[in-house]
Amino acid sequence: MLTRILSKDLPRSRVLALLLIVLVLGLALAPFLVPGVKALNVAAKVLIFIALVASFDLLLGYTGIVSFAHTMFFGIGAYGVAIAFTRLGANWTALATGVASALAVSLLLSLLIGLFSLRVKAIFYAMITLAVASAFLTLASQLSDLTGGEDGLTFRVPQLLMPGFRLFEQDVLGVAVNGRIVTYYLIFLTVVLMFLALLRIVNSPFGRVLQAIRENDFRAEALGYRTVVYRTLSNVISAGFATLAGCLLALWLRYNGPDTSLSFEIMLDILLIVVIGGMGTLYGAILGSTLFLLAQSYLQDVLKLLGAAMEGWPLLPAIFTPDRWLLWLGLLFVLSVYHFPTGIVGRLRERAARPAARKTLKEPA
């Protein structure tokens, strides 16, 4: 049963399975395990990034397409919800309208980009998407009547999801179940469903073709697969999921602006998470997102402690100051590419597979 829900794509490593169980349970119980605004915020972001990164992995890890336009779709989702709430007021119709129209825009745009430019060589495609994404970012900050420009949009959401709302009179496990927690669980459920859907897609015959295209598109064509169709579909599906993730982000933040959902920085974060987690392994999205967002959110705090400890040393305090946290994030980029060439999931799976391999290959061929 569980195997089928996971589309028969099991962790294939005991350690990995354990980690995943811990993380999923942790996220499911986060509001009660680690109460506090900041912790809940980190947990919600982890969830949203899991969906976002998994959708990107479909494109990058499974289909082998390097696109820098993924945040564009993320942003479309976020703006869709933000604009709808701003224009139509804080009600559920607005949410539905926002999600639906964002999806429509994303699907159309991804279809266009796919059909138009998937024929060019890989680097060129990457560069074109980079350019398109930066143009879109500019556009979003220019169209200030619609998008609020650089200031972005701050908006209200339906009462059920507002911090002031109380679901129960009494506290549950010492935590007041307010609208934020309701929102959190809404996001949790949506992300779980999205993840399982993606898992199914990559383990379907369709997903297998995507991997074949990644390996050798010319050969895939010769077998009778129309690669343009498959690539475009992969583009469209992945854009759709990214859009949904964007909707969740806006819902959570009750704010959206160009830097929040469209910036190149987020694109890099996504790339890094995919690589840390392990390309072409959706589970990597879970591990990578958690690890990365924890680092991103708590690095400054850690550095503050370290910096204080190094008081009096020459130069070191200048490096171990919270203000230089990006330095350490940069180092994380470099080291993770160094040490996890196949990502954490890849590593764990190799480790799990090695004893077995040794048994069969012991004897000289």
Partner: protein
Amino acid sequence: MLQTENLTVRFGGHVAVNAVSCAFAPGTLTAIVGPNGAGKTTYFNLISGQIPASAGRVLLNGQDLTPLSAPLRTRAGLGRAFQLTNLFPKLSVLENVRLAVQAKAGAGLDFWRIWSDRRDLLEKAEQVLEAVALTAQRDADAASLPHGDQRKLEVALLMALEPSVFMFDEPTAGMSVDEAPVILNLIRKLKRDKSKTILLVEHKMDVVRELADRIIVLHNGELVADGLPAEVIASPVVQQAYLGVSPKEEAV
């Protein structure tokens, strides 16, 4: 019945295939021979749609395939094995073949079932591996196979596609003498199925002599001879241009 009419392709000023008209009937194995660079592979590329023709048409059972892209021609029944081995290097041998089987079954767009639930596809793929004697290597990455086994896998992909037209481009090149017969036997077996059209580019004349029902000769992109194996091999054009005692040899 596969036909090419006036099939031509130019690369810049160079005419690689020049107005080749020819018909290939089911149940025959036609060998295509000619010097290096004669246009044999290019002729295959034109038929299977890897490169667009400058002029001329490709017909299969009367249907004009010329406007179709390569994948659509494959689906129409043209199958192709490449001269330079062309596989999915990082996928397992079994998965390589399974993908071909899946393509044949037209199951590629199914994105709601789990791939391994399609037992039929898997079993079919295993049968094909069995036929080319690669079962032992089914879980190895294609890239780690020695050259000869990669050639076998190349042929296996073609077999799995079950096309009505088989195009082999030097299937046994670089294969050791005790392995080559596996492939040749497969081709022999194929020949027995009278509904299949087989095209074979091959430089080993003994193989050609034994297998071919008919030989056509390409030279500088043109069709210069067409006929029964014995006749064609004996013809002066083949003797000189192809097998020819080279001028060097005479000089020495």
